[in-house]
Symmetry: C2
Subunit: 134 residues, 2 copies
Amino acid sequence: MTTLRPIGQVVSGLVDLAAAPRQGDEGAPEAWVEVRADLAAAVATLPVGEDVLLLTWLDRADRDVLFVHPRSDPARPVESVFRTRSPDRPNPIGLHRVRVLEVDGCRVRVGDLEALDGTPVLDIKPVLGAIDDR
Amino acid sequence: MTTLRPIGQVVSGLVDLAAAPRQGDEGAPEAWVEVRADLAAAVATLPVGEDVLLLTWLDRADRDVLFVHPRSDPARPVESVFRTRSPDRPNPIGLHRVRVLEVDGCRVRVGDLEALDGTPVLDIKPVLGAIDDR
């Protein structure tokens, strides 16, 4: 199995795991995605004002967890991590739909990102209606 | 950077890269996702009849490609891979919205999956309205 090579990282005021919102639309702040210098041309054409899918590696997650209380609420019965968006899972890939606000060289400013400062970024994909919205 | 640990693999009649449809809704076949034996309990509650997001590792992709002709059509000008769903990209993570058709122990039957036979599976996530459909 191949090793991941991050394309960049999240630069955010969100540094505290306990304070992070569960989802990007629950009060997450703007953040910068800083990509590697060799990728500047590849992010130059990202669509400002539109949404994209950002894939991250949730490096502070516990990869041995298979069952969680949804939204960390102990009152709710445990569920398979595959039924939740818990960061704790065998391969903690974060999937975030974010608005592109600005592209400045190797830096991309995005809205409403719940990922913590320093989180590795793996990929950026367009939102496709047929895949994501049907 | 941590190495990926696949949770399983795709078992599909789709073995030929050239014959693979570009997206799952363009004529892709049913397929089985075979997960590791230790994950049987974690897939037992997957919602039959509903859609989930399947994340795969597109192991036949070229990770050094940054610009592609969209849909491999040479008549279309090249675009950044981050503007397309091309499998060729620095971290070739496939994102597939598929219907769960059946769960049988460690095997999950899904509809309309364009991933090739043997493709490693990384994760299964629920579709969340706020993230995927807004």
